[in-house]
Each structure stands twice: as C-alpha cells, then as structure tokens.
C-alpha cells in the first residue's frame, strides 16, 4: 500500500499550473514510497487534457465525469475521493492548497481516519515517522508535523514545490461511484468576473494600501496590473473601508498569496499583512515612511508618495514591455 492519490482540480475543464505542481509533488512522493502516482479528476475534462498529467509523473488518471457532480457538494465529493483511495489502495492523498482542500479534504480525513496537514511547504522530511514541514503562525515559524495514521492527507501550499517534468505513460480510466442520496446543498446561482487575473493564479500581484488615499485613486494601480498581466489586491484597511472588495484583501485574515513578484504600494506592512505575503519570491515596496515595517520584508524599496511614483512606474514598465 504505497500508492499516492492526487486530487486534481480543473477550472472550466482545464488544468492550471497549481494542478501540475501537485501532480509533480505527488509523483515524487510515490517514487519515495515505491508506488504509483494516480490522479483523480472530478468533472468534465477532455482526454487530451487528462493525459497532460502524465508529463509530471502520473501513471493513471481516474476520470470521474459523472454529470450529477457538476456542482461542489463537500459531502458527496469527499465520498468520491474516499472511494478512489480505497480502490487504489493509496496511502497518501494529495490536495492543492486551494479552497477545495479546506472544503473536501477534512471530510476525507474523517472518513478514512487519515491525519491531515494543510499547506505543507515541501516533501516529507522523513517517511517513518511520516513527517511533513509546514508554516505555522502565518510564516512566523516553521513546524515539522508527524502524521501517525496509516493513510496520510497532505495539502500542498501553492508555489512551494514547483512543476517538475517527468514524462510517463499514462492510462485514463473511467471512474464512478454507486448512486448516492441527493446532495444536501444546492447551487442556485454563479457569478464570475471574467477577464481578470485571479489572485491565486497570479505570478505578479499589485497591491494598494491606505497610501492611495481613496478608491478614486486606483486607476494607475490597475494600469500597472494591466501592463504586467498582474492581479490587483489590497490591504485590510482598504477592504474594511469598502474601497475595494473583500475578495482582494491579502493578509493573515484575508488571502495568503505566494506570487513571484508582489508590489506593496502605500502599504505600511502591518505584521498581519506581511504574514499573508511573506512567501512571495520578490517584494517591492513603495512608502513615504522609511521606517515602515514593509521595508523589512521587501527586497526592493522606494521611499516616496505612491501617487507620484505610480505613474513613473507605469511609464518605466510600459517601456520595458515594449522593448522586451
């Protein structure tokens, strides 16, 4: 019993980098255990897309395309995952660090009496006892967690392992479960904002704080995001004031992000904000106060009024984009 089951999420039928990251991660753990990396896909994903998982070390894909499961129901989805684990005799189950991990994985944990680590930051440090690293106190410390149960569930923090190519022969196998009782949750409406880069997918995030002085001053920040193909975000006071929607709030109580490049513009860098962005590869800060704590977390800093500096940044980045 050393197979690894990887729960792959699709977004309107397509996989994203985060899916290939957990496929790579799960495949490496399978290698360490001497087992197979098996992916479970729930939803309507084309065969051409499913076989892409083979590029990252997956050897089998369970294709669960039952139309009754078009909408997420945590209870029903957890049953599907648990059945797949049992069918494949998996000893490790991998989820991404997304909202699905928070919604479904804990239920699978109880079903299978499998200990769970949310937002692991790397490969197991040890297989016996099975020890997984993770951040605690939002990055103010790291911890080693031992999972003591026979089956282990790990959700991987985004961008903490990377995508590793490892082409394998992959078979796609249809998968279904016996008909269940009707779902006890019903989705009655879906609203999606199209055309925007999503915070959790973004390689670059441009984030604004109180230094921008008011919601009417966001246009140059959005322009910078446009130029860089970045997502927009904000600090807590900005969303609390209603200048920007809560969904943009980045920080300890908002979203935890890990982009390649994070711009903190007019954000002083309260400890709670920094906790949410500390996994960014590079942080650029612009602030009038040279003692602002954000400069302790930043890699590059500019001291000055963000409203004056933003137009200059836009000009400089636009010039760079035109030349490169």
């Amino acid at each position: 019993m050393s197979n690894v089951l990887i729960y792959t999420e699709n977004f309107d039928g397509k996989f994203k980098k985060s899916t290939f990251e957990i496929a790579s991660y799960g495949a490496e753990i399978a290698t360490l255990l001497g087992g197979e990396a098996i992916a479970l896909s729930v939803g309507n994903v084309a065969e051409d897309d499913l076989v892409q998982l083979g590029l990252y070390g997956v050897t089998k894909v369970l294709n669960f395309a039952n139309e009754g499961y078009a909408n997420l129901d945590n209870q029903a989805y957890a049953s599907v995952v648990a059945s797949a684990v049992e069918k494949e005799n998996a000893s490790v189950v991998i989820f991404s660090g997304s909202t699905i991990a928070k919604a479904v994985a804990p239920r699978v944990s109880v079903k299978l009496k499998a200990g769970m680590v949310y937002a692991a930051t790397g490969l197991p440090k040890n297989l016996s006892p099975f020890t997984v690293p993770k951040k605690v106190f939002h990055g103010k410390a790291f911890a080693d967690v031992v999972i003591k149960s026979e089956i282990k569930i790990i959700s991987l923090a985004q961008n903490s392992y990377g995508v590793v190519e490892n082409p394998c022969n992959v078979v796609v196998e249809p998968f279904d479960v016996p008909a269940n009782a009707p779902f006890k949750t019903r989705v009655t409406n879906v609203e999606k904002t199209s055309g925007k880069v999503l915070l959790n997918d973004a390689e670059i995030i441009v984030s604004g704080g109180r230094g921008l002085k008011g919601p009417e001053n966001w246009a140059p920040l959005e322009e910078l995001a446009d130029i860089l193909g970045a997502a927009t975000a904000c600090s807590r006071p900005v969303s609390d004031e209603g200048w920007r929607p809560h969904s943009e709030h980045v920080g300890q109580t908002g979203k935890i992000v890990a982009p390649n490049l994070y711009f903190a513009l007019g954000i002083s860098g309260a400890i709670q904000h920094l906790a949410g962005v500390s996994s960014s590869k590079v942080i650029v800060a612009v602030n009038t106060d040279h003692e602002a704590p954000v400069f302790q977390a930043a890699d590059y800093g500019i001291i000055g009024d963000v409203q004056k500096i933003l137009p200059q940044l836009n000009e400089a980045f636009r010039k760079f984009k035109n030349e490169n």
């Binding site: 129901d73 945590n74 209870q75 957890a78 909202t99 928070k102 919604a103 994985a105 804990p106 239920r107 944990s109 109880v110 769970m116 949310y118 937002a119 020890t131 993770k134 605690v136 106190f137 990055g139 410390a141 790291f142 911890a143 080693d144 967690v145 031992v146 003591k148 006890k184 949750t185 019903r186 009655t188 409406n189 879906v190 609203e191 999606k192 904002t193 999503l198 997918d201 670059i204 609390d240 809560h246 969904s247 709030h249 109580t253 490049l261 400890i271 906790a275 500390s278 590079v282 302790q296 890699d299 590059y300 800093g301 500019i302 004056k308 500096i309 200059q312 400089a316 980045f317 760079f320």
Partner: protein, 249 residues
C-alpha cells in the same frame, strides 16, 4: 432555532513568535490570548442573525476545547453576546481530536446552524470545520462570505476562484466562514462583560479523542536580506533590477 459557534483560543495575531530552547515548542508564556479572528466574525454574524430573527433564533451557543486557561476567551464570547458556552475540558491536540470532541458535545443539542472559522491563526490548519461536519454527518459549505436566512431557507455565498456561488444548504448544516461574513467583529460592552459573569459556562468531560498528527519540532524563519533602496527619481533602476538581478520579469 439554535446556532453553535466554534471558538478557538489563539495567541494575539501580533504576538512575536519565540521558540523554546530545544525548538520543540512555541514559547507562548507571555502571549495575550484572543478569539480566533474568523471565529469572532462568525460569532458576530450569529448574533446579527439572532437579533434580526424576531425570536426565531432563540439561542447562540459558543463552544471551545481547552483547559481552564481558555476560559477568559470563552467568557469574552459570552460578553460579546453569546447566550451560553460549553468548554470541553481537554487539550486541543489536533484538528481531528478537536472536531471529534466538539461533535460529541454538540450532538445532544441539535443545533440548526454550526459556524466555524475557516482557519485558526496559530497552526493554520483549515480543517476543523470540515472534520466536524463529517463527524456529525451534516452537509457543509466552505469559503462562506455571506449568510442569510430567508423564511426557513438558509442562503450562503461561497467564494470560488474569480467569483461567487449562491448555495442553499439543507439544515442542520455547518458553515465554514471567512472574511466578509460580518463587517467588523463586535467588541464587548461594559454591560456585556457584567452579564457574561452570570451566563452558563458548562464544562464537559472529553469523549477521549485520539489525535492523528503531532507537531514535533519548530524552526524560525530564514532571516531576510536587507531591502535594496532605489531613489524615487530613478524608478527605471527598479525595472532593471527586477529584470537582470531578480530575473523575475
């Protein structure tokens, strides 16, 4: 109708995190303890719903798993406005054990809505609410940023990547809530603090859950290199550094 709000007792989010000498634990001897921020928002929303229900919601109960040291925090939840409290007298070993203890303590009362914060600010587990719903065999909705009751129907907003879904769960159910569920957490009033002393705080014996995970060692984060400052009149240098030095654009 009865609402249960699960409360985690956590160190204040501004606490400086120090490790013990042997790095086997976090040294929290001097920490201030608070209601986990998401749980505080959940409690606030529960009280708003009760007040707007014209008597239909007759009770908001709070529950925590912890030793006697957790009592000031649960007392604060009573001061904010919860009607009564349960403390399961056990160390909160891991999410699995806590969820099991809460499920056992909650079974007797048949709560209609159970609210849990989506994460705790200490060990960042994000698992307890989902586990609790599975132990109770109840439906759950996670990433809930809005919760309304219309007649007998509960309607919640679930945040999804790039949007929102309106979800109608059957009750009883577990809502795992995040930012947006309430605007600002309520602060206890003087009157609330006085009244909280007389409200029931029931201490129950643990059911004897077994933890499946154990935190065995800690490390401090890597120190960060000093920030490179760029003159405000020369932002072109930033672009240059991001391209050639950081190689990020």
């Amino acid at each position: 109708m009865k609402i249960l709000v699960c409360i985690s007792n956590v160190p204040d989010t501004t606490t400086k995190i120090k490790l013990t000498g042997d790095q086997s634990a976090v040294d929290l001897a001097n920490a201030q303890w608070i209601i986990n921020p998401w749980d505080e928002l959940a409690l606030t929303r529960a009280l708003e719903l009760k007040e707007a229900s014209a008597g239909k919601i007759d009770k908001v109960t709070v529950i925590t798993v912890g030793d006697k040291n957790a009592e000031p925090t649960i007392r604060k939840a009573l001061a904010i406005g919860a009607d009564d409290a349960i403390r399961v007298d056990a160390a909160p070993a891991d999410a699995f054990a806590v969820a099991y203890e809460v499920s056992e303590a909650a079974k007797a009362e048949n709560f209609d809505i159970i609210l849990c914060g989506i994460e705790s600010s200490d060990y960042n587990g994000s698992a307890m609410g989902g586990m609790l719903s599975e132990f109770l065999g109840l439906p759950s909705v996670s990433s809930v940023s809005k919760l309304e009751i219309e007649g007998d129907q509960v309607k919640v907003n679930r945040e999804i990547p790039g949007g929102n879904e309106l979800v109608e769960p059957e009750t009883p159910f577990v809502a795992i809530v995040q930012k947006g569920i309430a605007k600002e957490p309520r602060i206890p009033s003087m009157r609330g603090i006085m009244m909280a002393r007389k409200k029931p705080l029931n201490v129950v014996a643990p059911a004897g859950a077994t933890a499946l995970t154990e935190f065995v060692a800690y490390q401090p984060p890597q120190p960060k290199a000093a920030c490179k400052m760029i003159a405000a009149e020369n932002v072109g240098e930033l672009v240059e550094l991001l391209h050639n030095e950081a190689k990020i654009i």
